[in-house]
């Protein structure tokens, strides 16, 4: 069988070819018989929403994860299932990670040749001069603005990315995979990266490019592969690529969910929170908005656009640099303690890390934000704590309804209910909710949506941050889209679809003004 594959592979002319690659995690299929190919010397973009299976596919190609089934053919040879990270490197598959993997405190040259430093004959000492010369040669070949002796700490993020690229090029590289390479670069830095990609292409190196940003995909790619829900949707050739088409394919025909239009309706109750010119250097700039009573304000945008940073600053976890906030008509300086005592709640994005005390009971988890009532003089009133716990469990239908249960043993959905209950047993006026339903099954999701809606109709104002587009469109009364730390677009009193939000988050302005 493998010989016939070899024969086919040679004919196809592809550098890398995946045939019906399948992968599932504990019964949940994340890649479903995906076909995928990269030609020699092409720039190929891989796009899809969060959870579409992009990273899993990349992990399989680079040997970070093993596939369940399917064939991978590289340079005409079948890649065995037991394909490890090191094997991939030897094949010439290089990866530039989103999380930069350089060693701070070392020079550019030291990083490029880490683990393969040239040695002086005999002594076993590193030949620093030769290493720097080799690095200088590489840098000159690609005309990068770097010096071999620069310390990593002193160069910009973009410069570090260049070092990563050089590190990959110093070995054998016939395909370079870039995972969200531009997420933290400035415009000139992005232009430099584009030039480099062109150079790589000219040298015959294929570039596999993963990005959320449509304009980049549009400007760069020879071909685009669109994934959705672990399945291949379509492969677009150069002449068929257009941002609008790609977004349409990414979101697809999930009619029941995204394409359904949601009528936004402004609430014009009294203003609860008034934010003017809020700036936190390097995170977000000059943000202004009003939040009305009983309103659900959705904040959309890509990961890293400053959404989480904004709500953290408003709740008082991180400080900000300039700007003013008024809460219930009075000037307000956020601090976590003041927020809690004045009826402001916060549900953080990383439930396991920031939301729950996994080794503590449901009762303790619910009580932790109400210690002012439960333990006014420092000693916990067990009966009051129990009363609130039972109240919270009933209110949110936590399963199992056993107050002494450790929260770490609950399902994701029930954990999130406990986090919500913690605030619902308090007298709440405003709540910040960051990614409430990540990793939660559909049933519990609906329940949580109901509770958020009920909260709002009882007069509580909600600021909802979410990457889940249907969630954002279905729940919000108004949506602000953040892009690179600034409000890019506001949607109110209109019909809203997930597609519109994704367009705005990707930096595409609407032609039709709705």
């Amino acid at each position: 069988m493998s010989s016939s594959i070899d024969a086919n592979a040679k004919n196809s002319g592809n550098l890398l070819e995946c045939r019906s690659v399948t992968k599932s995690y504990s019964g949940h299929v994340v890649l479903d018989a995906v076909d995928f190919s990269v030609r020699p010397g092409e720039v190929h973009a891989l796009v899809g929403e969060n959870g579409a299976g992009k990273s899993t596919l990349i992990k399989i190609v680079t040997g970070a994860t093993l596939r369940d089934s399917g064939d991978i053919i590289y340079e005409g040879k079948v890649v065995p299932i037991q394909h490890a990270r090191r094997d991939a490197e030897e094949l010439g598959i290089a990866v530039i990670y989103q999380e930069l993997s350089l060693i701070p405190g070392m020079t550019v040259a030291q990083n490029i040749f880490l683990g393969k430093e040239p040695l002086l004959k005999g002594l076993g000492l590193i030949d620093g001069k030769r290493m720097n010369a080799m690095a200088a040669e590489l840098i000159a070949r690609y005309d990068f603005p770097l010096k071999p002796t620069d310390l990593i700490d002193t160069i910009s993020i973009a410069g570090r990315q260049l070092v990563e690229i050089l590190k990959a090029l110093s070995g054998k590289a016939s395909i370079m995979i870039m995972d969200e390479p531009t997420s933290s670069l400035t415009k000139t830095e992005v232009e430099l990266l584009f030039r480099i990609i062109a150079t790589l292409k000219a040298e015959g190196i294929s570039v596999l490019y993963i990005s959320h940003r449509m304009e980049e995909v549009y400007a760069l790619s020879d071909r685009v592969t669109v994934l959705r829900d672990g399945k291949l949707v379509k492969v677009l050739d150069k002449e068929d690529i257009s941002p609008a088409e790609i977004i349409r394919l990414m979101i697809g025909h999930k009619l029941d969910e995204t394409a359904v239009q949601h009528q936004l309706a402004c609430k014009d109750g009294p203003v609860v929170l008034e934010v003017r010119g809020l700036t936190s250097v390097g995170k977000f700039q000059d943000l202004s908005f009003d939040l009305h009573e009983g309103e659900i304000l959705g904040i959309g945008g890509l990961v890293g656009s400053g959404r989480t940073e904004l709500v953290r600053a408003l709740y008082g976890i991180d400080s900000f640099d300039t700007g003013t906030i008024r809460y219930l008509g009075k000037p307000w300086t956020p601090s976590v303690r003041a927020s809690i005592t004045h009826g402001i709640g916060f549900i953080p994005e990383e439930r396991r890390l920031q939301g729950i005390l996994a080794t503590q009971s449901i009762t303790r988890n619910i009580g932790i934000a109400s210690l002012d009532h439960i333990a006014p003089r420092g000693i916990v009133k067990i009966r009051e704590e129990d009363r609130r716990s039972v109240q919270g469990i009933e209110l949110l239908n936590v399963k199992p309804p056993r107050p002494e249960q450790f929260v770490g043993n609950l399902s994701g959905g029930n954990q999130q209910k406990v986090v919500l209950a913690k605030w619902l047993v308090r007298d709440l006026k405003l709540i910040f909710i960051d990614e409430p339903t990540v990793g939660i099954d559909i049933g519990a999701k609906e329940e949580i949506y109901d509770h958020i809606r009920k909260l709002a109709s009882s007069g509580v104002s909600v600021v909802l941050v979410s990457s889940d587009l249907p969630e954002l469109t279905r729940l919000s009364d108004r949506v602000l889209v953040l892009r690179q730390g600034k409000f890019f677009k506001e949607y109110k009193e209109c019909t809203l679809t997930g597609e519109k939000i994704l367009r705005a988050a990707s930096g595409i302005l609407e032609d039709d003004n709705v």
């Binding site: 060693i103 701070p104 405190g105 880490l114 683990g115 430093e117 590193i126 400035t186 390097g282």
Partner: protein, 342 residues
């Protein structure tokens, strides 16, 4: 000037000022006899601290060093008391104590993924007990104080050229060698990489487990070397020797600029740190301040150093964020100007 250079110059300046102050109060400080002793004190702590620096660069910690000193010195005493083993061979045997302990520490940390602190604290306790068990006892079972008379062994702790203690020479030799190793060999690079970013190190093909085991072995060996010099100088040893030296060692390394978070630091800093600490301790004695102040001063110095380093780091991060904002603004302005021009 890079931050760590400034830091080092400040430390040297501070040492000059402190030394001047002590001299004003008690001129005896500046006699050659006292200075030689001060250097010898610094060397005793410093030899252990060199190995400890390697461990801290990999983001680890080795609490077992005091125990290694105790057991090594007890092993030496036993051999000197009961046998006629030649001194060079005895020196080799003593190094084996540290190497073995280090290997066991490293093995548990890497193979069983146990926390460094817990593993080495446990070995410390085991070694402390072991030192008592193997100590030379009298007929009533009490620990017997054995005086070392072996001339060859006493050579280590004695004075050499210019009256400088051989311990000091050993410290300088070890320090310079370790620094060259750290900066100019692949293994040295691997040590930094393992501490700074273990994932990146592994992706670059570095065997971080072997590196880790190696640094704990080196740390143990350094502690054993120190044990030989200390017991030789004291002409005796007790099972408690070295217990509590962890604090001085940690202080030397931290003052020297090696961070607990790993990936940074060097042996030069540690050597300066050991000297600074010996200076402070000597000063406390020479100025007539109660010696009970010593541990308080050492603890205080560690805290102050760490606070200053954290401040410094925050300030530089903030500067970087501001610089980025300026770049972004400049670009936005340029883009606006371009639009205007059209």
């Amino acid at each position: 000037m890079p931050h760590h250079v400034v830091r080092r110059l400040v430390l040297i300046g501070l040492m000059v000022v402190v030394a001047a102050l002590i001299t004003v109060i008690n001129p005896v400080f500046l006699t050659s006899g006292n200075l030689l002793k001060l250097l010898q004190e610094a060397a005793q702590t410093g030899i252990i601290a060199v190995g400890f620096t390697f461990v801290m660069i990999t983001a680890g910690i080795d609490m077992s060093i005091g125990g290694v000193v105790a057991v090594t010195s007890m092993v030496c005493i036993n051999f000197l008391h009961y046998t006629k083993v030649p001194v060079p061979m005895l020196a080799a045997i003593s190094l084996l104590v540290g190497a073995t302990t280090g290997f066991i520490n490293g093995w548990f940390i890497t193979r069983h993924k146990l926390p460094e602190f817990i593993v080495t604290l446990a070995t410390r306790s085991i070694l402390m007990g072991l030192a008592l068990v193997i100590a030379v006892k009298d007929s009533a079972g009490f620990v017997q104080n054995v005086y070392i008379q072996n001339e060859g062994y006493l050579w280590f702790g004695s004075q050499g050229a210019f009256g400088i203690y051989r311990t000091t020479f050993a410290f300088i030799l070890l320090g310079v060698g370790a620094q060259v190793f750290l900066r100019h060999t692949r293994t040295g690079t691997n040590i930094y990489a393992t501490g700074a970013n273990p994932t990146a190190a592994k992706l670059s093909g570095i065997d971080t487990d072997r590196t880790t085991i190696g640094v704990y072995m080196f740390s143990g060996v350094c502690a054993s070397i120190a044990a030989v010099f200390i017991s030789s100088r004291m002409m005796t040893a007790m099972p408690e020797l070295g217990i509590g030296s962890e604090m001085d060692v940690i202080a030397s390394v931290v003052i020297g600029g090696t961070a607990f978070s790993g990936g940074t630091g060097d042996v030069w800093g540690t050597m300066l740190g050991a000297l600074f600490l010996a200076l402070i301790k000597n000063g406390i004695l020479k100025t007539g301040i109660s010696p009970w102040i010593q541990p308080i001063a050492i603890g205080g110095i560690i805290v102050i150093t760490v606070i200053v380093d954290v401040w410094q780091k925050r300030a530089s991060e903030r500067r970087a964020a501001k610089a980025k904002l300026r770049r972004l603004e400049a670009e936005a302005a340029a883009a606006a100007a371009a639009v205007q021009a059209v």
